[in-house]
């Protein structure tokens, strides 16, 4: 797993993807921070995270599009699958590498709480809750992107589909009011990650929400492993 992880990290930072991911994040967030927190005179970070989420849909689609699809497309999966390690190690190595790139941006964004703490009155408990919710949400979304990347050989298709699905998931609360069937609406609300994310944003950390994010993330990692294994039987 270590070898895969190192290779993936190397791949992110020897290609423009890793830099682009971080650079776009570091260019856009100061804009949101200045507009919402500094000009708006607020220490709440939920407004900033709302906008970051939209930027992240694009960035995550690009980050995850090649995770599995590229190996198949370039036939390097032959090397990985004929090496003495199991598929779980391959997929986990890749997932952890992508999470690490996310982690880098999260750590870099800690500059904003520091600024607020230095010049304003900050509720660090609420900030922590915001950050926790944000990290859990994108850990889940990266696992979904990875799963989609395992379904196709084309990075382009993976990116477009990931973008579409993440966008729909993020926007559930906006279209839920249009659904007249109450049972369906309740079901979607119960499954929607964004409702739980919103609880984190107002400073509520439900243990159940954490379990929800972690278990769904595990589910998509598991589905990716199963899908890579399935191909060994059908292709």
């Amino acid at each position: 797993m270590g070898a895969i992880y190192k290779k993936e990290i190397r791949n992110y930072f020897c290609s423009p993807i890793g830099y682009m991911y971080i650079a776009v994040f570091m260019c856009l967030t100061p804009m949101f921070f200045t507009q919402i927190n500094l000009a708006g005179q607020t220490s709440g970070m939920s407004g900033m995270f709302y906008y970051i989420n939209i930027v992240y849909i694009f960035l995550t689609a690009i980050l995850t599009m090649g995770m599995i699809a590229e190996e198949r497309n370039k036939h390097t999966d032959h090397l990985l699958l004929s090496a003495p390690l199991n598929i779980t190690e391959i997929v986990l190595g890749k997932y952890l590498a992508a999470i690490s790139v996310l982690g880098i941006t999260v750590v870099l964004s800690l500059i904003y709480p520091v600024i607020i703490g230095r010049y304003g009155s900050a509720s660090f408990g609420r900030m922590f809750s915001c950050y926790l919710g944000f990290t859990l949400l994108w850990m889940l979304f990266i696992s979904i992107g990875m799963f989609i990347s395992s379904l196709t050989e084309s990075q382009f298709i993976a990116a477009v589909v990931t973008f579409g699905i993440l966008f729909a998931l993020l926007m559930t609360e906006n279209f839920i009011s249009n659904i007249s069937n109450q049972t369906l609406a309740n079901f979607i609300t119960a499954c929607s990650p964004i409702n739980r994310f919103n609880d984190f944003q107002i400073g509520i950390v439900f243990f159940g929400h954490i379990i929800y994010f972690l278990s769904f993330t595990a589910l998509f990692v598991f589905l990716t492993i199963q899908n890579v294994d399935r191909r060994r039987f059908t292709e």
Partner: protein, 328 residues
């Protein structure tokens, strides 16, 4: 020397099904320790599928493949540790240098040798020293293929499985790669798939021919070409024009079954393919007949068997057997 005949690779009734399509149909053969076996067959015969199953890239529908006693299904890690695999398209990461790539493969295969010395040994064996710090995407096809070979050698595997290692290379590179494979085969067991009989002749001890997912022949090269060889076909070169030679040849009906002019190879000379009559060697008779009729013979040699010819013969006869079986 006792372990020379010991089977290292044992394939039994290995089958791969895609829906209703049988890609590999109950293939069985064994490869002994230290042997270099050529795996022949036309495109789509199931060569790559078989190799992919042997290396664990694909899972078999039924049957078993064992390497050194370990089953690929129940002990995949042990098997994979023993096998070096070069797939049809070398699995290279284009944005790595040769050195970085081999280091990665070393880590990936969890090799327990000394990294630096092992990798430099492989680089020396595959003559990659000059390009070791170049990006793989900037290498020529021949070098890329060598990097693919180097990758298969990482960890000193006992068994090498090479899927068409010389495809798309120029003649010089083909010879180089063949020499390397021959050298690697000195203390390893090698399966190499190919279309080219020459290649098998140059490096293999034995051949397994497959067609439509079935083994149709398995023997030493000598046996297989003898069994299938058209010993009755010769290439004849005479020092005269086609018309004269044809009229003389057509008079030797009791010696010659058929003859066809070939394209001109030498100025002032004409080439023919001559099929002699019956099973007997009538070369001496033909020569005498030509000389008696005042024609200078420049060359008379058996026509070399190509894989296509051996293959068509083998496949045809196997198809006939299958046909009979169905009728019965």
């Amino acid at each position: 020397m006792d372990n020379i005949k010991q089977p290292v690779i044992e394939i039994k009734n290995l089958t791969k099904k895609y829906g209703n399509n049988l890609a590999v149909d109950k293939i069985s053969f064994t490869v002994n320790r230290g042997e270099i076996v050529g795996f022949l067959g036309p495109n789509g015969a199931g060569k790559s599928t078989t190799m992919n199953m042997l290396t664990g890239y694909l899972s078999a529908t039924s049957g078993s493949a064992r390497i050194d006693g370990y089953n690929i299904l129940s002990n995949p890690k042990e098997v994979k540790q023993m096998v070096g695999y070069l797939p049809e398209q070398p699995p290279l990461y284009m944005d790595m240098t040769v050195m970085e790539y081999l280091n990665f493969v070393f880590d990936l295969k969890k090799v327990k040798l000394t990294k630096v010395s092992h990798i430099s040994e492989i680089i020396e064996m595959t003559k990659l020293g000059k390009v070791q710090n170049k990006l793989i995407k900037n290498l020529s096809k021949g070098y890329k293929q060598r990097v693919g070979l180097a990758q298969a050698l990482v960890g000193n595997p006992e068994v090498l499985i090479l899927d068409e290692p010389t495809i798309g290379l120029d003649p010089m590179q083909i010879i180089e790669v063949r020499e390397m494979i021959k050298k690697f085969g000195e203390n390893r067991t090698v399966i190499i798939s190919t279309h080219i009989l020459q290649e098998v002749n140059a490096i293999c001890d034995r051949v397994v021919i497959i067609n439509k997912g079935k083994v149709v022949a398995e023997d030493t090269i000598e046996h297989i070409t003898k069994k299938n060889g058209e010993e009755s076909a010769f290439q004849l070169r005479v020092h005269t024009d086609e018309k004269t030679a044809s009229s003389v040849l057509s008079r030797a009906k009791d010696l010659i079954e058929e003859f066809k002019p070939m394209s001109r190879r030498e100025s002032g000379a004409t080439d023919f393919i001559v099929y002699t009559k019956g099973e007997q060697d009538t070369r001496a008779g033909i020569l005498k007949h030509l000389v008696d009729n005042g024609i200078d013979v420049l060359m008379l040699r058996p026509v070399e068997m190509t894989l296509e010819e051996v293959f068509i013969k083998t496949v045809n006869s196997s198809d006939k057997k299958v046909g009979k079986g169905v009728e019965a």
